[in-house]
Every structure is written in C-alpha cells, then in structure tokens.
Symmetry: C2
Subunit: 218 residues, 2 copies
C-alpha cells in the first residue's frame, strides 16, 4: 500500500520504518522538500521509501499517518491541503503536548475537546482515526517489546476506516483482542488526556517502556 | 483505627462498609447531622459505625477519606474545618467531574491543576494522599473482583502518609506490587485526567467492572 507519513521525528521514523519493513511504499513528509532527516531516512530505508513536502506525502499516500508534533499538526495538514487528505484514512498519532511551560508538559487542548476532533472538524472529508498515541513509538510498532497483555485504543467516526486501521495494527503485532475500539473521534479526549497519567508514570517508573492493559471482570 | 468518611454516596458507603468490616471505627459525615442515608448506614453497619456532620466525622477520625462529589469536596472540607483535618491523613478519592453539561462529563479542574492539589493548597496542614479515584468503588475495596493484575495509584507530598495509605490498601486486598506511587500530589493531574479515558472505556465496554494494569518491559 502507498502510505504518507507526516512528520520526521522519532514517531514518524518508527512508523515509517515499520511500514517499509512490512512492504508498504512510504513517503515521509515535512515542511520543506529538502528536510535532511527525511532525506537521510529515505536514502537508508531502501527503494520503497521516499520523501517530500507534507503535500507530497499526502498526495502519494492512499492512507496517511499524522506523526507531527501535536501543536503543529493542524498547520502541517493545512500545508498538505484539504483536497489531498479528503477521502483518505488519516491515522492521528499526535498529542497536543505543550513543552513551553513547566515540566511535565500539559495539553494545549483537553477535557472538552481534543486534537483528534480538531483535525476531524478542520478536515471533514478526512477519515480520522486516533490511534497509537498512548505509548512510546517503539511499542506502537513492536508491542511484543512489553510482555503480557496490553492494549491500543482506536477512536473515529468512520467504522470502515477503523476496521482498516485495526488490520494494520494487527500487522504491527497487535493481537486483535488488544485493540480496543473506544467509539467516535470524541473519545480522543480520553486517550489524549491519558497522556497526563502517562507522563507521571514515566516519571515514577523511570522508563517509557510500559503500556496499560484494561483488565475486565468476566 | 478511628476513621472519618466524608460523603454518603456509593463511594462513601463502599469505603465505610469495608473499613467497618476490617474492624475500624467509622464515622460517616455529611452536610447535616441527620442525613437519612448516613443514619441508615450507621444503624445497619453495627456498633463500630456512627454518623454526623462533616466536622463530626473529621473530629472523630484519626484518618479521613474524602468521598464527597469532587465538585463539592472543598466546601465539604471547609465545613469540616481546617483545624480538624490538620495533621491528619486525608485520602482523596474524589474526581472533579462536571455532570451539568453534555455526557460523558468533563472535568471542572484539569490539565494544569487537580482537585488533589486544590485540597492540599486549601488545607496545607492536611496530609493529602490521592488514591483509588481511578476505578468504581466496588473494585476500590475488593480488587479481586477483577481477575489478573491491575493497579491502584497513590500521589502525595507526605511519604509517611503514603506508606500508611499503602498499608491500608493492602488490607483492602491490593497486592503491594499493584500499588503504584506516582510521586507528589501534582501527579493527581494524571490520575484525575485518566477519568476522561475511564469514562470512554465504560462507554465502549458497557461495564464499569474494569481497571488498568501498567505492563512494563523488563
């Protein structure tokens, strides 16, 4: 499949590497066509890897991953252009973390709104699925890194889009029973707010190599 | 031990019942001395159970549980009186959920502050420990209700107070390895924000009989 990955940070790199490894053709997009990190990645990741602007990545991809910093996601997607994301599944992995204040960071949007919803509202023809934003990127693409049961959440208004993302998560290594459908994109308020607990867990455990499992009574 | 339980809702009832069952002397406090729910509870819970105003409960208890609705917790504690909570461990179980708007509820304080911190600031001589607020009350007092590993978080600035709450949680049935110390009371931002995910999980699972486990890589 042809996939556009927006963002050249560690999350974008991890997702893009995994996708290329799974046989997909990946175009990594950034603000400028000559981003050195993206260029280096494309050279080293092999013939199925390319790079360009956000618009290049959005145009090339049949499915898109938003791996930009949450505070810049709307701008990145505007730069890609609404017409290029229309009709496409947009997996939103970003969190609207504000690193300008005291640490740990807070959220720039939260509680009564979420970045996932903002993106869906700004790009009503995109099929936004919030997923994978509740863990470090190494676990996103290799859940076996953390032993035992642990879960990934998907939120979105488009059931068919969620099904397709679910299938892709399975190829990443997520067992079907570990993929928890939280409902509509409004549920992104929940998974983004969880970041505030995630940050405290990171501080308490001294490691980001963890994820949560939802244990249920029978 | 003599314990004051502030609040007469289902959380206060569950905590108070469990404490009486463990042999503690419990005074349940409410706004008025003649709250019928508290009176009924005290009659049916046996000779170790009493009831009265918030101030009565705070005076009677060597350790206090705040089980009031989060939106009324500061008022309840002011009504109890700062001098009666001073020096005492105050286990804050409340969440500042706002049920006046659209459902699921949002938080009245979140992200850059928390109810736990507000209480600690308003009552600087209380030894506030945020705990148990991340699950339904039946699980708080009977973690075995949910099979497998799952966790409870404690946050607070007073290490000795957290140790004592940890011991009490153990008597509730929490294995020591399932009690996660998140650090200072500022970490209540994390556990309270998690409620936004908890509410979405409730909606998606159709049940509140769940709790999360933090799975870690070795």
């Amino acid at each position: 499949m042809r996939i556009g990955v927006l963002g050249t940070g560690i999350v974008g790199m991890a997702i893009a590497d995994r996708l290329v490894g799974l046989g997909h053709e990946v175009t990594m997009g950034s603000r400028s066509a000559d981003n050195p990190d993206a260029a280096h990645w494309a050279r080293s990741a092999g013939e199925r890897a390319g790079h360009g602007t956000f618009a290049d990545a959005a145009e090339a991809g049949e499915l898109l991953f938003n791996c930009t910093a949450g505070t810049g996601s709307l701008d990145a997607l505007r730069s890609a252009g609404a017409e290029l994301v229309a009709g496409k599944i947009l997996v939103d992995v970003a969190n609207p973390l504000d690193f300008t204040g005291s640490m740990p960071p807070s959220l720039l949007v939260s509680n009564t709104d979420s970045l996932g919803e903002q993106i869906q509202r700004a790009f009503p023809e995109a099929r936004v699925v919030k997923a994978l934003n509740t863990m470090r990127c190494q676990i996103m693409v290799d859940p076996g890194r953390v032993p035992g049961a642990h879960d990934v959440f998907v939120c979105g208004d488009d059931a068919a889009a969620k099904r397709q993302v679910r299938e892709m998560l399975t190829t990443f290594g997520w067992p079907d029973e570990s993929i928890v459908d939280l409902g509509g994109i409004g549920s992104a308020r929940g998974t983004e707010a969880y970041l505030l607990l995630w940050l405290r867990l990171w501080g308490a455990l001294g490691s980001r190599d963890f994820n949560i499992h939802v244990a249920q009574a029978p």
